[in-house]
Amino acid sequence: MRVAALGSPVRRTVAPSYSSRTTGPLRRRIVVGLLVLLSLALITGYFRESSNGGLHGFQSAGASAMRPFEVGASRVARPFRDAYGWASGLFHAKAENDRLRKEVDRYRQEAIRNSTAATENIKLARLLKYRRGLTYPVDFSKNSVAATVLQDPANDFEQAIVISAGSSKGIRVHDAVVTNRGLVGEVTKVTHDEAQVTLLTDKESAVTARDHQTNAIGIVRHSQGAEDLLFLDRVFKNKVVNKNDLVVTAGRQQGQLSPLYPRDIPIGRVTKVGQTDIDPFQDVQVEPLVDFTSLDVVLVLVPTSRAVP
């Protein structure tokens, strides 16, 4: 005969006399009912009484009585518990390490994104300030397009950047591109969502400009050298140009050159003025105000008539 005991091979020879198998169902129910009622009474009494009540006192005394045994058991078990904790910690260390590495990577990327966003925010705020300022060209839309720079100039000979806005934003070829510091260049190619901007430092670029202080007119071109210097060309010798004068766009056609640049956009500051006997024009060197090596965000000036709402 088998009995209901795990792994027990057999044998139940004599049933104990105290077993409830021999007791009647009524007695069983009464006993269990009483125990359940007692439990419910304990719960109710415990809830209803204050913390100074009898049941709380009984519990406190019982817990105090058990405390030494718990402390003893805890001391006995401490080495085993420490060993378990050590093994468990070792087991989880690798997974924890991987998780933390991923977390660090995620936070690092987030920090980079935040830093980039903060920098971009500062630059956009400057552009916005410029757009709201008095020097912003009045014949251009206040809804001009801010765009981030997607590609920097490929090399020294091809001074063009690609920006993240195109014809879908109302941008067309020959639109002027500026930052809050001054003129950057003009749009030379447009797709639906991107545009190519040829910088002032490109050897093919040229813009009609004037000395803001003396009104001497000339054409700003690249110096053809390795440096990011510009020249104010075609300034007759009888015109006055002084060092540190501000050079701005003239806003009018000069020969074959595009008249599309609005008037009075800052270009640079005169750093050197000279002339030779054989050349009918002055030799005026201009240092651009815009740092063409670190362009992140630019503003495309879209004429009011073409602005996309």
Partner: protein, 171 residues
């Protein structure tokens, strides 16, 4: 009757102390074994429903005292657990080899459900998802593992005395 009751009282006192000081701190895969519950199942299967109910009440009272919980809370659950498992052992589960493991698994689940329900009725904070989904499978598995040594210990403690044999010579 007195000797088994004294043994059970001592056993559950020991089990409660070990439970609250050692076993409850063991967490594996989100669950932790319940030594007292497994011991009640073992005792109830061996000794019957009334004994199981008394054992459950006593163990629950000790647990509530040791944990400084609501008095009667665990007593109620363990009384019912001990009684039902005792009845199962007296009736359907009698002489079934799978009865111990089945009892441990079922009682672990019912105890968890009952505990959540009681917490809900008493408006005490309790997460049913944690208790019934996250930790329950691991707790059931750990209790089943714990059942082997606990049942062996209980069988040894409560084994009936060797039958008194008399030899009668006839003829």
């Amino acid at each position: 009757m007195i000797l088994p009751a004294a043994k059970a009282a001592g056993l559950f006192f020991f089990a409660v102390v070990v439970q609250v000081t050692i076993v409850e701190s063991i967490g594996i895969l989100g669950g932790s074994p319940d030594l007292v519950l497994v011991a009640i199942v073992a005792v109830a299967l061996a000794q019957g429903s009334i004994f199981g109910a008394f054992a459950g009440f006593w163990a629950g009272l000790l647990l509530d005292v040791a944990r400084l919980g609501t008095l009667g809370f665990t007593s109620l659950l363990l009384t019912l657990a001990g009684f039902w498992i005792g009845r199962y052992g007296e009736t359907t589960g009698r002489d079934r080899a799978h009865a111990p493991l089945l009892s441990v698994a079922v009682v672990t689940v019912l105890y968890a459900v009952g505990s959540v329900v009681m917490h809900f009725l008493l408006q005490e904070p309790s997460s049913a998802r944690v208790a019934l989904v996250h930790s329950l499978p691991a707790t059931v598995a750990l209790n089943l593992l714990l059942a082997f040594p606990v049942f062996a210990l209980v069988r040894r403690l409560f084994s009936p005395a060797a039958p008194h044999t008399e030899v009668e010579f006839v003829g």
